[in-house]
Symmetry: C2
Amino acid sequence: MDDRLGNIEAYFRKIHALDTAYGLFEWDISTIAPRAGVPVRAGLFAILAEESFAMGISPEMESNLKYLEENIDSLDSRHKAMARVARREFDAKRKIPPKLAGEFAELSSKAKAVWEKAKEENDYLSFAPVLKEIVEYQKRFVDLRGWEGHPYNTLLDDYDEGMNVDKLDSFFAQVQETVVPLVKAVASSSRQIDERLLFMQVDLQTQKKLSAFLMDKLGFDSSRGLISESAHPFTINFSANDVRITTNYNVQKPFTSVFAVMHETGHALYEQNVDPSLAGTFLENGANMSLHESQSRFYENLIGRSLSFWVHARDSIVEILGPDFEMFSALDFYESVNIAKPSLIRIYADELTYPLHIMARYEIEKEMIGDSADFGSLPDLWAEKYMKYLGIKPETDTEGILQDIHWSGGSFGYFPSYALGSAYAAQLKAAMSKELDFDRLVMQGNIAEITAWLKKNIHSYGKLLTPDELVMNACGEALNAKHYTDYLSEKFSAIYQ
Amino acid sequence: MDDRLGNIEAYFRKIHALDTAYGLFEWDISTIAPRAGVPVRAGLFAILAEESFAMGISPEMESNLKYLEENIDSLDSRHKAMARVARREFDAKRKIPPKLAGEFAELSSKAKAVWEKAKEENDYLSFAPVLKEIVEYQKRFVDLRGWEGHPYNTLLDDYDEGMNVDKLDSFFAQVQETVVPLVKAVASSSRQIDERLLFMQVDLQTQKKLSAFLMDKLGFDSSRGLISESAHPFTINFSANDVRITTNYNVQKPFTSVFAVMHETGHALYEQNVDPSLAGTFLENGANMSLHESQSRFYENLIGRSLSFWVHARDSIVEILGPDFEMFSALDFYESVNIAKPSLIRIYADELTYPLHIMARYEIEKEMIGDSADFGSLPDLWAEKYMKYLGIKPETDTEGILQDIHWSGGSFGYFPSYALGSAYAAQLKAAMSKELDFDRLVMQGNIAEITAWLKKNIHSYGKLLTPDELVMNACGEALNAKHYTDYLSEKFSAIYQ
């Protein structure tokens, strides 16, 4: 048995090696690679990606899984988890005929170009037929893979093991009940927060110093990772001992990078804190999309956008930013970085209105996959939902339904994890607050103690437990939107009185 | 036939993809990767390296080669060359039993540690038995692979297709005849060149600006490459459109990086100028070690250490370096960067004495592989040769026989390519001078015209022609040391009158 297990692990490790090589390529092209060299190398690395895919659905893989599952009772928890994770991957890929997968890859690469042009030209109708075709492929995939309750469930489960429309309908109903009236109250509040400091010019060198300060403050271990620059911030890891984040500096808007760095540091802490013994298995990464997002949101918002943090860090940050910032108090910083108002573009949305952007997308996706969407009139549906939730609607498709890249690549079921991440973050804060004095720790700059709690309860497990098990163990209950809505109500009612 | 050729090319491309991934990993660990993450990733990338090796010696590879060779007359020049290059690789690897190769890999990794310690502790005798064992393995490899004339020939041919001891004996005899008396004359010359400018402090930012200036001046295409930093300068390429060099900045010795950058830019120009149609084949790199080195030496020495270059570039360089350098004329720069005197350490040797360091190593390697070396007394042999050629000898093993890493890794036959590189560079300059006014072009800063000649005659071919064919076509004659010795005599006689 040990021999067979050894062979299976070697097989998994080779897939992991191919994926790591591909990840390194992605890191490289996102950060420093000269544009001109990308096509040739993309062709070469596609060979490795294809091999990884082929190994993932091969008869050998199937027999490996069968062996693991037949012997599941005698496996240790690590091999049990490997079997579970590998089975999910296998099923998601294996049931799609390669021909169909190839057709879809071609379609989605074409679709991306069509979407880009449509967005540029504010012309949703030129994208509509392609979007319809993409959704039809997704539905065929779901039918081939099987689904229960609602076809959308299979896609939701891809990003968030165990997630489904029942849970999300109930989640968003609670969000809607609390957040929609709260946003209305904030929008009609007479309170005007001074936003000058958000637009004060800060040179590149200073911003880099500030990044280093923030990463250090939040506990990023620089001996096991680094920061670089790319067009869009992201986190990537090659093991718990090599976790890399990127940011993008804007001299005119220094706080864009400030919160990008705190966000990515949250992702990075999760990866740096995975138990080292999981290195090289399928288990060494964060549990799923929404728990990963919960960590980025936790460090970005629950810590980085808290009053306690600015009380603690204001002096050090002003020292880095320079004398122009001396006029601003901790409270000025806190309020400026928490200005909330309804807006059209999701990626620029504030912490309060953000989940409403997601809710609109969730409902539209559910209709598309559930077969009740009229693709010709989706912008009307979009406008209707934005009016209902945010009280505004886009004048153009570019600022509306065409703003996100996700659908052109066939990503359906991805958006909800953004909102769930924020909700899990609030829920984890509530849970740890039974043991820790959160605000006092942040005010003392003792983030390490908070991170230790998260490491013990979430980070260290990697994928060893399911997301549901992790949340249940850490919080003593399943997903509960109330912690999130309470947090938003309390915070933004106070700011906007 | 087209189908079969297509399959063979796909097979080669996959090996190339695995090697490219490994190259990217090497780039990454040499430049930015956090130390802590290296072991896990090294294990993963070793899996890819092993697969590349296994594919390179597989029965499928053998059958591919057989097919190509049986149909050689109907192949185009590109496929013919691929067959030639792949056959060399295959034969070099295939005839070594994997068990023996494994044993040697283990030995050489152990040997590296032994060598490091011995060098640190100035204790050759602790390294001697390991060195002997390494040489014994090399001799077994050579016996298994077969050899003609002299066993060392097989190893020389690995680095320089077509090279052998007869050619090298004659080459070094000519070098010895001219350079040894020249070095003596220089060493006893009363001429004292002011070396102050070599040790003037220059900050990092300024040195980076200077790197960019030099690369641009020499014609490096920054849209198809970049510069980074590493402990030891090197060049790596992922295609002609992605060629990367590194340097290492020393604030106290700015000219270390100046010439490292020009050296690596020479390597890089070679790779950037390979015909793009060779991308993704086995032919897209420089022809061999010594021709590659000829290009780095060409740009570093024949251009970078020429009076014409400093006449052209002195003002711009002083503008970058700042007012402290205004006191130095073009001639001051020229003479300072060409100070020649016998020294003990090869990597710090000047252009004139450099080949004598190589000659000593060549002769000792020949004895080791030819079975006439007494390993216990090699330091005596070393001292004897240094006395004879350079008129000095080391007081310690650290500064003598233990200074280079090469032998601990089993690299025998590599050193000569350094000297051959310089010789080919001089020979190419002589050949192009029939068509171009070299000094005038350099003095005008018109390096592009010189590079165009090299591109047309050397660079563009990649490995399409053999090194011997390339040299014959470009120069109208085979390797001829006289161009090199004439160049050195003329240059250093003039400087030291």
